[in-house]
Amino acid sequence: MAELTPDARMGKPPVVAPGYTPGSVTDKISAIVLTRTPRWWWVAFGLSFLLMQALLVGVAYLFFEGVGIWGVNNPVGWGFAIINFVWWIGIGHAGTLISAILLLLRQEWRTSINRFAEAMTLFAVACAGVFPLVHLGRPWLAYWLLPYPNTMGLWPNFRSPLIWDVFAVSTYATVSALFWYVGLIPDMATLRDRSRRRWKKIVYGFAAMGWRGHAAHWHNYEVAYLLLAGLATPLVVSVHTVVSFDFAVGQIPGWHATIFPPYFVAGAVFAGFAMVLTLAVPLRQAFALQDFITMRHIQNMAKVMLTTGLIVAYGYLIEIFMAFYSGNQYEEFMLLNRIQGPYKLHWWALLLCNVLAPQAIWLRKVRSSPWLVFLVAMFVNVGMWLERFVIVVTSLSREFLPSSWGTYSGTRWDWAIFVGTIGLFLSLLFLFVRFLPMISIFEMRTILPEAKSVHQRPEEADA
């Protein structure tokens, strides 16, 4: 109980409700996967799957007709596709952050949320991955972005941020998947040993790779896990930095800003935690996991969200400041145009969602009510999408030559494909919670009093 007493003194809720043993934890979590499918799951999955059809139809029509079915034009060459791409990628970041960075920072409260946060990362990246592909004028030639020896003797242009994207995003997807799977192995063993049905034993058995929990296994395993965390941390930072380069390397007023990398990364974590909360609050309700995903988690995540939110707000502030301080008339106009131009509504709405709404977290009352936190998170989800809209569209619509100004608005196909990816995301998520342990079982065991009672070096407390 040594860990908990200071918390208790500070009136913090515990990381895991008292009275649990490795056995009970194991049974409670594996039960979610191994018992019969609840009816509501079918409903939820069905709906998300239906939603996903919008994506299929949208993309099919897109490939048939061309990107002209979208609102994109000259000068606004990028629209929803890139907005959604950045939005989804950003969301993904929280997962890696929780599982990697918090691990290195020995935040043991990460334990009960890192598993599905990582899953969320994977699915978000999957959704994001759709867009760079389909937004091409000739998507069937997308493979030309990969460096491979071809009969034309040609290679990609490695100076282009889009190529950096290809490397960054594909690496991110791969490493996240590896990290996630490695984390799953011991739990796969648990499920292998718990499940009654033979086919389940075989499937989980294969996934477990014959994990036996041998002391030597555990040793190498922990080293590997720590190293992966160490690698994932700079990776996750690099990914959104690279994404921000898509804009920062361009020279459009509103894109060409050195503040972008840090402020994109912060924004990503901001958006990510918002999404984790958006998922965690209903899930803990649905599966009665209040004992494992406690108010402690909700509050901590809310606080991280608030902090990163403030960093993002600082980013906005600096943008405004630099616009005038730099004395660059294009920057100045860009900003005035955001404030009072054709897209002023988006800009003000963005401030409301991303700067104003999160301030509610300061209030203990809000912090300690899951559903209020959930509400704030929803605001942030919308706000971060708007942020990307403002960056992409408002900047492009009015840049250097007034003769070439234009306007942009998404068509029904833009929306169909966007909504469709949300469907894809949810479908994957529901499949995940049904077939895999949404909380890392073996890590939960390590934070139980029983485990702590064994004298061991402190740093293993979290690992």
């Binding site: 491979y148 003797g153 014959g210």
Partner: protein
């Protein structure tokens, strides 16, 4: 608990994990070779023609010069395909009964062109100019192969971009004396010394800019 898997699965599992790497490599190699194969380039594949015209016979046996039929090769981008009348010039006198030449006579009689199948067919977005290559001493055979030894013409080279680039980057390996351009059989005694000399003399400076061929 009872064993789920048989002993052998250990080996199987390890092998699959390891083999995956090789599978990917092999797949890539297959794709690459297929892309360069005669299947996709039609290299060395004889095309069906309405009239089985033999360059072998006309060039070697009869000693007709390329330019007798491909008249524009020295002045134009397009070397030119002979009109029916060119064939008839001779064939009104010789072989004027042969069934083989029936389509030619028909073409003249009905004033309908002969529809040959194109052998060297670059994509529409590639602009090739015969005249400049001839002017800089690139022999016919360099790209078209020993047409004089082809009873039926096939495409000697792959005509893929990497193939074009090879010569545009190392002209000295291929250029010959202007007077030998139409000599199919000509071989440089010593290309290593001749090539660079000619490149200097003819001011051969082949460009690898995209707009050289694509516009």
């Amino acid at each position: 608990m009872a064993q789920i898997f048989h002993r052998s699965t250990n080996t199987v599992a390890k092998v699959t994990l390891f083999g995956a790497v090789f599978f990917v490599a092999v797949a890539g190699w297959v794709a690459a070779t297929l892309d360069r194969s005669a299947y996709s380039t039609r290299q060395g594949v004889v095309r069906e023609q309405p009239v089985p015209f033999s360059h072998d016979h006309h060039v070697v046996a009869l000693g007709i010069d390329c330019r007798y039929c491909h008249t524009a090769v020295e002045t134009e981008a397009f070397a030119g395909i002979p009109p029916t009348t060119t064939c008839i010039n001779c064939h009104k006198l010789i072989w004027n009964e042969s069934d083989m030449l029936a389509p030619v006579r028909a073409s003249l009689a009905e004033d309908t062109p002969i529809r040959w199948t194109r052998v060297h067919d670059l994509p529409d977005f590639v602009y090739f100019d015969h005249s400049i290559h001839v002017a800089k001493g690139v022999g016919c055979a360099t790209c078209h192969g020993r047409v004089d030894q082809m009873p039926l013409v096939y495409q000697a080279a792959s005509l893929q971009m990497e193939w074009c680039l090879e010569c545009h980057r190392h002209p000295e390996r291929y250029v010959g004396p202007r007077e030998q351009v139409f000599n199919m059989a000509w071989k440089a005694p010593d290309q290593a010394t001749l090539g660079p000399a000619l490149v200097a003399e003819y001011h051969v400076d082949p460009r690898t800019d995209c707009s050289t061929c694509h516009r």
